[in-house]
C-alpha cells in the first residue's frame, strides 16, 4: 500500500492533474511540470502521475523527439499510468507538462534513469533513462 495513495489531486479542465503538475496551492496546469514535484518523484521513486511507488520497469512518456534524444520533461511513471494518460486523458486535453500535445506520444521503458538538474536558474529538470528496455509508439 502506498502512503500517498488516495491523496487528492485537483481536477482541471475536467481531467485530474498528474501529481507532477500540482503546485503548492493544490492547483496547477496540465502544461506545466512543477519542478519541486518532478525532483520529488525522481528521488522518492514515485510515479509522476499517480504518486504511488514506481515499479519495474519504469516508463517515460513524451514526444517522439524526446524518445530520440532519450531525455524527457515529465518525471517517471508506471507503464499503466502512462498508457492510461494517453488513451483516456490526452484526448481530453492532458498534455503532461508539455506546452502542447505532441503529434505522437511515445512510452520508453527503462530499468533506471538519471535526474538531470538544470545548468541555468529557472530552467526545468529533465530525466534520462539509462537502461532502455523498450519503446512503444502510441497513437
Amino acid at each position: 500500500m502506498s502512503v500517498i495513495e488516495g491523496l487528492d489531486r485537483p481536477v482541471v479542465d475536467g481531467v485530474r492533474l498528474p501529481f507532477a503538475c500540482v503546485d503548492d496551492a493544490d492547483g496547477g496546469r496540465h502544461d506545466t511540470v512543477v519542478k519541486a514535484r518532478a525532483i520529488r518523484c525522481a528521488l522518492s521513486r514515485i510515479c509522476g502521475i499517480c504518486a504511488e511507488v514506481l515499479t519495474r520497469p519504469v516508463a517515460f512518456l513524451g514526444s517522439a523527439e524526446e524518445a530520440e534524444a532519450v531525455e524527457f520533461l515529465f518525471p517517471p511513471c508506471h507503464v499503466s499510468c502512462a498508457e492510461e494518460a494517453v488513451r483516456e486523458h490526452a484526448p481530453r486535453g492532458a498534455v503532461l507538462g508539455h506546452a502542447e500535445a505532441p503529434g505522437e506520444w511515445v512510452v520508453l521503458t527503462t530499468a533506471g534513469f538519471d535526474l538531470v538538474r538544470p545548468t541555468k536558474r529557472g530552467a526545468p529538470v529533465a530525466f534520462r533513462p539509462n537502461s532502455v528496455l523498450a519503446r512503444v509508439d502510441l497513437d
Binding site: L43, R45, L54, G112, V116, N130
Partner: protein, 396 residues
C-alpha cells in the same frame, strides 16, 4: 553558523562555480560510461557475503545457550544486518543498481531489514535529506527532530537533555528512522494531513510487527530450548546495527567543517550550485576497505551526496578526483579519522545542549565574501522557529 546562499561561503566567481560543475559532470559521465559487469559482480558478491553471514549467525545461535556461540552468532548477525542496511539496502534504494534491471536488486522492490518501510525512507532520505541537505528547518536529518545541531537553531531548556536523547537515539536508531518521515514538527503544528498520518502509522506498525515477529518470535522459536538466548542475541544485533548506523550517519554531516544552510528557495539552484552545497554540507571519514564496506561507502559521504545514484563501489576512485577539484578551487574537503569525526559530533551535541552565550562557536569562519554578496533585502526570509530574523523583522 548557517549560510543563506551557497556562494556566500565561497570566494568563487559564477564562472568558476560553473566550471566545477562541468568537471563533476565529466566524472559522472566517466563512471556511467564504464558501469558494467564488474560493478554487477561487486554487488552480487556483497549480497552473497551478507546472506552467508546471516545464515551462519542464525545457525550458530541454535547453540546460543553456550556463551561463545552466543557471542559468535551475535557478531555474525550484527555484521549481516549492518551490511544489509548500509551497503546493500541504502544504496539499492537510491537506485544505484537499477541499471542492471535485476528483479530483486532494484529501488522499487528492495525492502530492508529495519523498522522503517522502504517507501517512507525513499521520501525522507532520498528526497528530503538529499534535496535539502543540511538546510535548517527542511532537512530532518539535522538532529532527527530531537537534537540541536546548529547554533542557528533556537535553544530551549529541553536541549539540556541532549546527551541523554543522543544516547537513546543511538541505541534505538531504527525507531528514530522509522518515525522520521512522519514529520513530528508538522504534526505538532497541526499541519499534517490526518489521512496520510494514519496510513504512514499503519505502514510503520506493520513493518515493526514483521520485524519483531522475525527477530523476537520465529527465529528464537526455531532454536527451541535456546529461545531466550537467541532472542537476546537478535536484540543485541539490532542494537549493534543501530549504534553503528547512527555513528556513520552523524559523521556524514556534523563534524566540524560541514556547513548548515538556511536558504529557502532551493529548487531554483543550478546543478553546479547544488554540487557545491552538497560538498560544503557533507563530511567524509578515512579508513580501510573493510571500514568503507561496513559503512556502506558513506566514508565517502561527499561523493555520495554529489552522485547518490552512482554505484557505491566507485566512490573511492571518484573521491580522488573530487578532492583534487576541491584543492584546486580552495573548497573545504572535510575528512579525518572516524574517531576524530565522531568526537567532534559528540562535542557539538554536548555544547549545543547549552545556550549560545555559554559556549564558543567552533565553526571555521567563511572566507571573505566576494563582490556581489546578497543584501538583507535580497535574502529570503528566515523561518521564525529557528529563532532567526525575517525580512520583515529585520526592517523594523
Amino acid at each position: 553558523m548557517a549560510y543563506s546562499d551557497v556562494r556566500e561561503y565561497t570566494h568563487l566567481t559564477d564562472e568558476e562555480v560553473e566550471e566545477i560543475g562541468r568537471e563533476l559532470d565529466e566524472i559522472r559521465a566517466e563512471v556511467e560510461a564504464s558501469r558494467g559487469q564488474a560493478d554487477r559482480d561487486y554487488v552480487l558478491r556483497v549480497i552473497a557475503l551478507q546472506r552467508r553471514l546471516a545464515v551462519a549467525g542464525r545457525i550458530t545461535l541454535f547453540a546460543s545457550m553456550f556463551p561463545p556461540a552466543w557471542l559468535l552468532g551475535t557478531a555474525l548477525l550484527s555484521s549481516a544486518k549492518i551490511l544489509e542496511n548500509m551497503e546493500i539496502g541504502h544504496n539499492t534504494m537510491h537506485g544505484q543498481w537499477d541499471w542492471m534491471n535485476d528483479p530483486e536488486i532494484h529501488s522499487s522492490n528492495w525492502e530492508w531489514d529495519t523498522t522503517q518501510p522502504a517507501e517512507q525512507w525513499k521520501h525522507s532520505h532520498n528526497y528530503i535529506h538529499h534535496q535539502f541537505t543540511n538546510v535548517l528547518g527542511h532537512d530532518n536529518d539535522v538532529g532527527y527532530g530531537i537534537l540541536r545541531m546548529s547554533r542557528d537553531q533556537k535553544w530551549t531548556p529541553y536541549n539540556l537533555g541532549q546527551p541523554v536523547y543522543n544516547a537513546l537515539l543511538a541505541l534505538f536508531f531504527e525507531y528514530g528512522v522509522a518515525l522520521h518521515d512522519l514529520d513530528i514538527e508538522a504534526i505538532r503544528k497541526g499541519k499534517k494531513d490526518p489521512k496520510l498520518l494514519k496510513k504512514q502509522l499503519k505502514q510503520i506498525g506493520d513493518k515493526i510487527g514483521k520485524q519483531a515477529l522475525k527477530d523476537y518470535v520465529l527465529y528464537p522459536a526455531m532454536t527451541g530450548p535456546a529461545f531466550f538466548h537467541t532472542l537476546s542475541a537478535n536484540f543485541t544485533s539490532n542494537i549493534v546495527r543501530n549504534v553503528w548506523a547512527y555513528m556513520i550517519i552523524f559523521c556524514g554531516h556534523f563534524p566540524d567543517g560541514a556547513v548548515h544552510f538556511d536558504e529557502k528557495e532551493l529548487e531554483d539552484e543550478t546543478r553546479a550550485e547544488w554540487y557545491l552545497r552538497q560538498m560544503l554540507g557533507s563530511a567524509n571519514f578515512e579508513g580501510g576497505k573493510l571500514l568503507h564496506l561496513m559503512s556502506g561507502q558513506l566514508g565517502y559521504q561527499i561523493e555520495h551526496h554529489l552522485f547518490p545514484d552512482l554505484p557505491s563501489n566507485r566512490y573511492a576512485e571518484v573521491s580522488v578526483k573530487v578532492k583534487d577539484i576541491c584543492k584546486r578551487n580552495g573548497i573545504p574537503y572535510t575528512t579525518g579519522p572516524l574517531h576524530r569525526q565522531y568526537g567532534q559530533v559528540i562535542r557539538t551535541i554536548m555544547k549545543l545542549s547549552l545556550p549560545n552565550r555559554r559556549t564558543k562557536d567552533d565553526a571555521t569562519p567563511p572566507p571573505p565574501a566576494r563582490k556581489g554578496r546578497l543584501s538583507d533585502e535580497e535574502r529570503p526570509g528566515r523561518r521564525s522557529e529557528l529563532g532567526r530574523w525575517t525580512n520583515t523583522a529585520a526592517s523594523v
